[in-house]
Symmetry: C2
Subunit: 345 residues, 2 copies
């Protein structure tokens, strides 16, 4: 274990160092729980427009860094920027989440094209440049994308789903059409992440938010394989950029993730027992997580106890403190300040 | 492995036998995907009224047995009959799910009472007696209840939830109030299941539908401990009645379930890798599951392949074929017939 006070601690942990205290950042650390975010949001148009406005998206990215001095700043954007870049109609309705012009069958893939992709997602590169220019040197800038399986659930369901009946009909009835979509998304996602890297992100997180709805063989085929393809391409061309995969809800299928090559870190959702994760993954793997966002919202003695428990269980190896899912909007901002204090104590 | 053609195959597997073919029943085997259910439903009042009408609930329980000759008949009822029995207002709105007069704080527990519980849930006993009288002798009648943690989520949230912010505020801020509610539910659930046993059910399934939202220590405290208390009481007083626990979404916390005493069977959700489950549980444990309900809805070659895979992986020990979650309403009834044929082939 190394005591540190300077340098990019997040990058050092992702390179295999065990640091005490661990670096900390939080999924959805920018967002509705912050009054400065709500004030900015009240002055802007739709959510997608916000993601595509470099000055505003950069400001939102920086808000939690200014307030809390976190060790990582994650680009403020949305996983549905990739379908938007491919020409699919995407919008967000207040309180309803995303609405997409859903793909109905394999033939609809013709509607998606890499022509024009770079131009449509170019504002994200500008956001990254602006953030990087303003970020303190100790803070790591994290780029991200949704993983192909998760993004394709939205592209085929057209919205958030409970049963995932449409994409599973593709999966079980027409896997070659689903494979064609996933291949397109692997290509687009690599291009999108390379744009972020060229603009200055220093690490990548892949969000596989819907890893938890697949049987084991389908998990291998639709979660492990596409993410591995993205990681292999990024590692080959950008060996200095570490990649974290967050396969939310993978359960015992985290074992399959532990066999993937090229990962620098793995995000653990709230339900993963930390001791099981340490046994399942190689000792050099950086593990990231996994405080319950609802104990952060509640605060108090339970927050202190849960921080202590997670640090004790995961801190014996490379470890990045984070939540097991995103900050919930009801979280009092002072609880995040208390969390940072507890982790650095 | 024993070849069988007669007897209560489900009970034999729950007693530790490995049978080929395995017995089969399906979670939500009675319900909206069946035209005869929809026809009956169109003539009846609210959903809770249906659960409390012995003649109708018995008829609905028997519909899939008549159609498919399944090896288990599960009582048609709802996990919210227990809060109703305790005096909480419960209703169901079409397309919205359950609505309860939510508990706001520990003081609200005074609204819940065992006085009158037996009378309020008595119709369920009558349903069991009617079903038992009509069931072919080879079919096992399965009673059930929701597990205390899962039932308390509805009692505190007041409805289906995404974040479970209210019950987690109890959990993290006032665990003694939550413990008092859970204790009340353990007592009521044992009483309710003993009523079912007295009326003729031959096996019990405990549905812990929201096992997948808790960190590991909370899983021990709020999932393992209350279910273990119910199982210990049932085993002591009814040693001939096997109990199955279905901790949906438990992920790696299925390991904690594998250490529980007194269980005859464990339900595996769709995401659990069958080989991992066989390694995790004692060889004598009956494992039940875990076909994706969406491959049943899709049918075709994928259904045959998934049935083959699951049988090959789980059939080496005591095994009950089932889904990993309930039948979805869009399922064509002929796919269930095909599934039964495939499992018995």
């Amino acid at each position: 274990m190394t005591a540190v006070s300077t340098g990019k601690t997040l990058l050092r942990v992702l390179a295999g160092s065990t640091l005490e205290p661990p670096p900390i950042w939080l999924m959805r650390q920018a967002g509705r729980y912050l009054p400065e975010y709500r004030a900015l949001r009240a002055r802007t148009g739709g959510f997608l427009e916000l993601c595509l406005s470099p000055a505003l998206a950069a400001e939102v990215t920086l808000q939690p860094i200014r307030r809390y001095g976190l060790d990582g700043a994650i680009l403020f954007s949305d996983i549905l920027v990739v379908p938007y870049g491919l020409g699919q109609a995407v919008s967000f309705r207040e309180g309803e989440g995303p609405i997409l012009e859903a793909l109905d069958h394999g033939g609809d893939l013709a509607r998606l094209a890499m022509d024009g992709f770079a131009g449509r997602v170019a504002p994200i590169g500008e956001t990254v440049r602006r953030v990087r220019a303003e970020l303190p040197p100790s803070v790591t800038l994290i780029g991200f994308a949704g993983s192909p399986w998760t993004v394709s659930t939205y592209m085929i369901e057209g919205r958030s789903s409970r049963e995932f009946g449409r994409i599973k009909a593709w999966l079980y009835r027409d896997p070659s059409a689903l494979a064609a979509l996933i291949d397109r998304l692997v290509e687009a996602t690599v291009a999108y992440l390379e744009l972020q890297i060229a603009a200055g992100v220093e690490a990548i997180q892949l969000f596989e938010s819907w890893a938890g709805i697949l049987p084991a063989p389908a998990f291998e085929r639709w979660v492990v394989t596409p993410n591995a393809a993205i990681i292999a391409q990024l590692n080959a061309r950008h060996p200095d950029i570490p990649v974290i995969l967050f396969p939310r809800g993978a359960g015992a299928n985290y074992q399959a993730v532990s066999r993937m090559a090229g990962l620098a870190g793995v995000g653990l959702d709230t339900t993963v027992p930390p001791t099981w994760a340490r046994q399942t993954f190689a000792p050099s793997m950086a593990l990231q997580g996994n405080l319950d966002p609802l104990v952060l919202a509640t605060g108090g003695a339970a927050l202190a106890e849960e921080v202590r428990r997670i640090r004790a269980a995961l801190g014996s190896g490379p470890f990045v403190f984070n939540l097991g899912h995103g900050v919930v909007p009801e979280t009092p901002p002072e609880h995040v300040a208390e969390l940072v204090r507890l982790v650095r104590a």
